[in-house]
Symmetry: C2
Subunit: 216 residues, 2 copies
Amino acid sequence: MRLAELSARSGVSTATIKYYLREGLLHPGRRVTATQADYDEGHLRRLRLVRALIQVGRIPVNSAREVLAALQDERLDRNQRLGTATWALPHGPEPDETDPATEAARRTADELMDRLGWCCGSTSGRTPAAPAHGMLVTAIAALSRLGYPCAAEDLEPYARAAERIAVSDLDLVERYGTPDEQVEAAVALTVLYEPVLLSLRRLAEAEESHRRFGGE
Amino acid sequence: MRLAELSARSGVSTATIKYYLREGLLHPGRRVTATQADYDEGHLRRLRLVRALIQVGRIPVNSAREVLAALQDERLDRNQRLGTATWALPHGPEPDETDPATEAARRTADELMDRLGWCCGSTSGRTPAAPAHGMLVTAIAALSRLGYPCAAEDLEPYARAAERIAVSDLDLVERYGTPDEQVEAAVALTVLYEPVLLSLRRLAEAEESHRRFGGE
């Protein structure tokens, strides 16, 4: 398809598509004349993913480019491509190593990983620490600095819920046919389901609060 | 205690405490001389909550002020204060009512609430629609616009996980002794546990991906 059709089918303006092409967020089309190129379903899919990252996830262009590069790395298998792409997603402020709360938070996070039998994110596991592990350490340190509950046993029910969520996530991913489509969907769904999850938690809290404290 | 002690015990500088007092984020101390005031444990607790909202949750000062006002409203019971305070938290962009995807997303959200038997956030329920319901509609509309799975049955497992999370949330809240402490903790934990949950989900996804696709 030509640029105009790619724009119509994706709902992204031709100016924005040209910007994504210049920024390397979208791979070039197959050149057919000096001024025209041909685009395929792969471009359409990639465009959806770029919009998910940039417009919905508000991920900076540089980070989005890293995520997309990881997805395309032919040397990696599906699990590695998924890991590398997810690791390139923004994950908030790094743990503050000058703060004593951070060291304690790292011990708590490691204890939690041990309890769960998780090893992908562990600092002592078979892979380098996932950035999401740093994100967890930062969050635990903030809780502990402010004196809110954050022991490994307080966090465990949240991790158990996260395990169930990850099963649903990968079930959605496996609906897609090819490994390429699967890794693209996995990254998009990681980002797009974050507000779903946070809004459902707030609604569920309102239900649970009503159940416990309603009609006082 | 005096301002200097409040600063030492909270880890918040006296300049920042004075700023919070001016902005109405912290209630005035009991005046003891023309230039000195006395602060109590309630001030210390409130200061923790303000830091949770502003420094960790990156919530704008105006929204934080609204949240705090709701917590103090004596006319409301515990469930209502909690609801009002959580509703004042920022909840992302409003649904775009000019977009046809929004209307369909609202129907999906309503269908999901029906399946779950939730009514606090429902547009047809006994209370006005919670802002988290709008946040959910916005998130579903984005998924649908980009062609990713977002039917009520796709979302239900996430809602079931959210129900379990809300039980853990309220269990943590009920560790606090007084209703005042409970509503303060509920708001702080809603905000502070968001990065905990999102990071645990990413780590759980890495585990689940390794389990399904590892060693290809």
